[in-house]
Symmetry: C2
Subunit: 257 residues, 2 copies
DNA sequence: AGGGAAGTCCGTACGCCGTACGAAGAGCTT
DNA sequence: AAGCTCTTCGTACGGCGTACGGACTTCCCT
C-alpha cells in the first residue's frame, strides 16, 4: 500500500508544484487557487510558528472547511512541500556585479541565512524528501552555476556547495534554538542564568568544567546585547569560505583536471 | 501562567538531569528508575524513529500506564531532554595521543557525526532549549578545551567550536533527509528518478537548468553505490578545518592578543 | 501503635491532530 | 435534460499530550 499510495501522492505533488494539474473542467470552480492556500500557510507559519501548521488552522485562515483543503493538496506533507518551494522562490540570484566566486557564494549564503530567519519553520517541518519544485530547482541551478569556470569537476562543485549549504543550515538551527529558549519558555536570558545560578555556581566551584566556565565568562561579557547569532554566522561563514578558497587554490595549482 | 509553570518544570528537569531529586521517602518505591525510562525511550526512538516517541509508547515499553510516566518526567519535553543528555554521554573525549588541535577537532566532529547517525531522532525532536545536563556540559567542556593553549580568546574559541558543530549538524540533517526519502516513501533512488523521468526530461530538453543537469549527471555516475553522505561529510569537514587552521595561523602571526 | 502526609500508579476525559468516507451540490459535456 | 466530474463539507476514528482525581503504599511523627 505504502509504495503505491505515496507514489501517486508524490506524482500529484509534482504536478501541483509545477502547475501541471489539468484545470478540471467539469465540477464547480474552486473558490481559491493553490497559490492562495499555500501563501496563507506560509503567513500562518511565519506568524505563529511551526505548531500552527495544521490542516484545520490553514483551512480556517482561508475560509474553508478542513476537509476542503484536501482538494488543493493531497496531504499535509504535500502542502508543506508547496510552502517550502514557495519560500525558496524568495532567494535572489547573485547579480553580475559579483564577479568573484567568493562574493557570489557569500551573497548566496547570506540569502539562505535571511530566508531561514524569516521562515524559521522551514528548519522544523521534518525532512521528508526534497520537494523538487521549480523554485528549489532554480535555486540549486544558480548555486551550482556559481562555481563554474574554475576548473572544478561536477563532483567537486557538488561537494563544495553542499558544504556551504550544510553550514548555513546548521547555523540557522543553532540560532533558532537560541531564539526558542526565550520564545517558548518566556524566560529571558538573564532570568535563565539567575535560575540556574545555584547549580551552576556549584559546578563552577567544584571546578568540573574549567574550560566551559572560562569561555562562558568571556563570552557573556563580550556579547552584551549584540546579535550573537548573526555574529557567529558571519564569522563562521568567512572561515568556511576560506576553506573553500584554499581548496580551489590548491586545485588550480595541483592539476587541471 | 506560562512563565511560572515552565520555570517550575525547568527546575525539576534540571534536578532530574543531575539526579538531585530528593529520594522521596514517603510514598511507595518507584517501580523503575528515571534512567531505565530514559533508556527505553532512546531504544524506542532508535528503532522506530522520532514518531515513536510518545508518552503512551514509552509507557508501554516500560510496562507502565501512560500517566504513570509523569512521575518520572514532568512532561514529554523533559523526557526528551533527558534522552538527549543520555545519548550525548556516548561522546568520547579525544585521547592524549591526539596532540594536535586539528586531530582533536576532527576526532570530535566525527564522534558527533556518528552520534547523529546512530540516533537520527536527535535532529528531529524540535529545539526547545539546551538541556544542560551533565553529559552535555561535559561534552561542551571538552570541546572548548580542545583549542586551549593556542593563544585564542574565549570568544574566538566559542566561535570556532560553533562553526564546526554547526557544520556537522547541517551535514547530519542533509544525510537524514537523503535517508528518509527512501525510508518514508519506500522508493529507492532509481525508482524515484524513473518516476520523474518525464518531467526531468522535459526540463533537460528545455535547457532551463543547465548547471544542475551537468552537475547532476556527473554526480550520478561518480557515486555509484557509495556512501554519498559520508563522503560529503568527510570532504566538507576537511574544508572547514582548513578554514579554522587558516584562522589560527593568521591569528598567531598578526598579534598575540 | 496509629494517623496523616507524601508519593506512585492509573482510568477517564478534553481538546488537539491527520485524514478516510460518503453525501450534497455545482457546472461542464454530450 | 442527463450524466459525469469536481468541490465542499460533516462526521468519525484513532492517535497525541496531559489535567484531574481517586486508590493505594510507604514512611514520619506523634
Amino acid at each position: 500500500m505504502s509504495s503505491e499510495d505515496s507514489g501517486a501522492d508524490h506524482r500529484r505533488s509534482i504536478e501541483l508544484l509545477w502547475g501541471r494539474a489539468e484545470t478540471g473542467r467539469r465540477g464547480p470552480k474552486p473558490r481559491l487557487s493553490v497559490t492562495e492556500v499555500v501563501a496563507a500557510g506560509v503567513k500562518l507559519a511565519d506568524e505563529e510558528g511551526v505548531a500552527a501548521i495544521s490542516m484545520r488552522r490553514v483551512a480556517e485562515a482561508v475560509g474553508l472547511s478542513p476537509m476542503a483543503l484536501y482538494t488543493y493538496a493531497p496531504s499535509k506533507i504535500e502542502l508543506i512541500d508547496l510552502m517550502l518551494d514557495a519560500i525558496w522562490g524568495e532567494m535572489q540570484a547573485p547579480g553580475p556585479e559579483l564577479a568573484h566566486w567568493r562574493d557570489r557564494m557569500e551573497f548566496f549564503a547570506k540569502q539562505h541565512w535571511a530566508l531561514g530567519r524569516r521562515h524559521p519553520w522551514m528548519l522544523q517541518v521534518g525532512t521528508h524528501r526534497p520537494p523538487l519544485g521549480p523554485n528549489v530547482l532554480a535555486m540549486a541551478n544558480t548555486a551550482f552555476g556559481m562555481l563554474d569556470g574554475l576548473g572544478l569537476s561536477g563532483v567537486e562543485i557538488d561537494q563544495l556547495m553542499h558544504l556551504v549549504a550544510d553550514y548555513v543550515r546548521g547555523a540557522l538551527r543553532t540560532a533558532l534554538e537560541a531564539d526558542d529558549v526565550e520564545r517558548i519558555t518566556g524566560i529571558t536570558d538573564e532570568q535563565w542564568w539567575q535560575m540556574h545560578e545555584p547549580l551552576l555556581g556549584d559546578l563552577i566551584d567544584r571546578g568540573d568544567f574549567p574550560h566551559l566556565v572560562r569561555v562562558g565568562a568571556e563570552v557573556k561579557t563580550a556579547y552584551r546585547g549584540q546579535n550573537v547569532q548573526l555574529a557567529h554566522f558571519e564569522f563562521g561563514l568567512q572561515r568556511v569560505l576560506d576553506g573553500v578558497e584554499a581548496y580551489i587554490a590548491k586545485r588550480a595549482t595541483s592539476g587541471d583536471r
